[in-house]
């Protein structure tokens, strides 16, 4: 491996990176995304207010325009919402929740989907037919409808919305993994591994799964973005997260009430944050798809 890399003067990772950098938009998006994630992670240390602590939030600070001074002395650069939450603080905390929901749902759906997909690919026959039938039905059902009904039944809260999102998304992963696994397991190297009498588990985890990674990464990014969007839509429809611990979706939906009253900042800034988060994830995902899809290689 080492000698090979020396000959090409590039490891696969380096090659992947240089190909990724071919699109300046994607690099910019990745940069912004990293900034967003870092800001959200550091939220408790870089915001003047903990928007979830009612002792720190005062309704007398409510609906202040950007740049106003709060009762407690700090400046609300992005203004405040109806309950008196500093929007800058609320947005950073909100991104944390939105990202947590999106990532948690994405990862859990990925794991469940992958396992089911692999089982289908390897078991074959009736099991495969049954699983794929279920996947088909699930996929033909719009995610928003599944999540809507589930959340309506389960109630509000982060854990519940994650369950709903996983239920709405696992099938995408399962289908992809199964398809890729079927292709891969027909390849020579798997045949070779079989001939070496390697165990099935070993073949799957050491050989087949790594080759499924590329499409999984692409789907993972897209699905994470769509999970975030879905969460905000559900919150907008009134079945999402709680009012007092707002995600971006809840912030926008709260701001929706102020739409016609000229208090643009209450929904505009959270909307912008949501937009930036989703668009950057999608832009990065898009470039990943181009880089990782060998069929498009020129």
């Amino acid at each position: 491996m080492k000698t090979q890399a020396n000959i090409h003067k590039e490891t696969p990772l380096q090659r992947f990176w240089s190909e990724f950098c071919e699109s300046r938009i994607a690099v910019g998006a990745l940069f912004i995304l990293i900034v967003i994630v870092v800001l959200a992670t550091l939220a408790p240390w870089i915001t003047p207010q903990n928007p979830y602590d009612l002792a720190q939030v005062d309704v007398l600070d409510g609906k202040l325009p950007p740049g106003s001074e709060a009762f407690t002395g700090y400046t609300m650069w992005l203004g405040s919402d109806g309950a008196g939450r500093d929007l800058y603080s609320a947005i950073l905390y909100g991104i944390r929740i939105s990202l947590t929901v999106g990532l948690a749902a994405g990862v859990i759906a990925l794991i469940i989907g992958t396992v089911i997909g692999l089982v289908a690919a390897y078991a074959g026959g009736r099991v495969d037919a049954f699983i794929m039938r279920a996947v088909d039905i699930q996929l033909s059902f719009p995610a928003v409808l599944i999540a809507l009904v589930l959340v309506a039944i389960l109630g509000r809260g982060i854990d519940k919305i994650i369950i709903a999102l996983v239920a709405a998304q696992w099938a995408y992963y399962a289908r992809t993994v199964r398809a890729t696994a079927l292709v891969e397991s027909a390849r020579e190297y798997v045949e070779a591994a079989r001939c070496l009498a390697l165990s099935n588990t070993r073949i799957v985890f050491r050989h087949v799964l790594p080759n499924c990674l590329a499409p999984l990464i692409v789907i993972g990014t897209v699905q994470t973005a769509s999970a975030i969007a879905l969460e905000s839509t559900l919150s907008f429809l009134g079945v999402g997260l709680r009012q007092t611990e707002p995600s971006l979706g809840v912030l926008i939906s709260n701001g929706f009430e102020y739409m016609m009253s000229g208090r643009y900042w209450i929904s505009f800034f959270p909307g912008l944050a949501l937009l930036l988060t989703i668009v950057t994830i999608n832009l990065v995902g898009d470039q990943l798809r181009d880089v990782l899809n060998p069929r498009l290689k020129r």
């Binding site: 996947v135 033909s140 059902f141 719009p142 907008f236 069929r295």
Partner: protein
């Protein structure tokens, strides 16, 4: 083919049956509809009488059996809120949603395919990059946000189009629809565009990807080598091949449009099924929720079947199999 269709239909019945159970027991867990419906002035006697009248005093299993019995005779139960058969309510709301979905599908095709074709044929031009970036924006923007912006801009600030609601309807070819009147179309435009945005992006991306992949295929190279004019290569050879995935996806998306209309309809006060569903969910009108979901399941199963059949007609290599790939 016939055996295939029959088997799929049997599966559909099974799926609908399973769903009915899940949904029925699921929605019965949430809240208490009587508390929602009854006047706060009512005393305990009156509450008890209402619970009995709605059949909610009986064990849930019995309620389900009663419901199944009704379904067998085409009776999905009566809406708690409207007192009318749930099926009738849904059918009353269906035309509004279907015309919305149809127009937005049309928009997706009319805007999506030419833009995608352009972006795919000339991938290195600035305009193409703009189209691609725009398409990403298109499915990243939250629908509800865009809908609101549209109302603000086109209805309130510019005053070009009505803000909400459905316009006048007229009867044409035996179908009553607001597609046939000017007033109706002007009411339809904004919500349909709002609903179409995601699909316009989707069609752009599918078309572009299809074009880019096809351009490297031998049959295109061959057609060009034959000296066919570029326009013919594109309109016949290229289009025919990229249309297959687009038709499939749009077919499936039509169902998605019906479902996504929940969001659009609640913003634009569009009197369709989506709004009926969300209102029923929020007001615990269980019979309507159950009936809606069962009808939607049935609908999707049928759409899938139709798409599969169309697929086999467009692409003879695809054999109708029992199992989706």
């Amino acid at each position: 083919m016939t055996a295939f269709i029959i088997r799929r239909l049997l599966q559909a019945v099974l799926v609908v049956f399973l769903m009915s159970g899940i949904v029925f027991f699921g929605v019965n867990v949430i809240g208490d509809p009587v508390d929602m419906l009854i006047s706060p002035d009512a005393d305990q006697d009156e509450i008890a009488r209402t619970i009995e009248a709605l059949g909610l005093d009986r064990p849930i299993g019995e309620q389900y059996l009663y419901f199944l019995k009704g379904v067998a005779t085409g009776d999905f139960g009566k809406s708690f809120i409207f007192g009318e058969p749930a099926l009738k309510l849904i059918l009353q709301h269906m035309p509004a949603t279907v015309e919305l979905a149809l127009l937005s599908l049309l928009m997706a095709i009319v805007f999506g395919i030419p833009l995608g074709l352009y972006a795919g044929l000339y991938p290195d031009r600035k305009v193409s990059k703009g189209i691609v970036a725009g398409s990403i924006l298109g499915f990243s923007l939250p629908t509800f946000w865009v809908g609101l912006m549209m109302i603000m801009l086109f209805a309130v600030i510019l005053g070009w189009l009505p803000s909400t609601g459905r316009g006048d309807t007229a009867v044409f070819l035996g179908i009553e629809s607001s597609l046939w009147t000017r007033d109706g179309l002007s009411h339809l435009f904004l919500p349909a565009l709002n609903l179409a945005l995601t699909n316009i992006s989707l069609v752009i991306r599918l078309t572009r990807a299809g074009v880019r992949e096809a351009m490297h295929q031998d049959y295109i190279k061959f057609a060009r080598a034959k000296g066919l004019p570029e326009s013919r290569v594109i309109s016949v050879h290229l289009m025919k091949n990229i249309l297959i995935p687009i038709v499939t996806v749009l077919g499936l998306e039509f169902g998605g449009l019906l479902a996504f209309s929940v969001v659009t309809e609640s913003i634009f006060a569009w009197p369709g099924m989506g709004k009926l569903l969300i209102d029923s969910l929020l007001q615990l009108d269980r019979p309507v929720v159950v009936a809606y979901l069962m009808i939607i399941v049935l609908f999707f199963v049928v759409i899938n079947l139709v798409v599969d059949i169309l697929y086999s007609i467009l692409d003879p290599r695809v054999r109708l199999r029992d199992q989706g790939a």
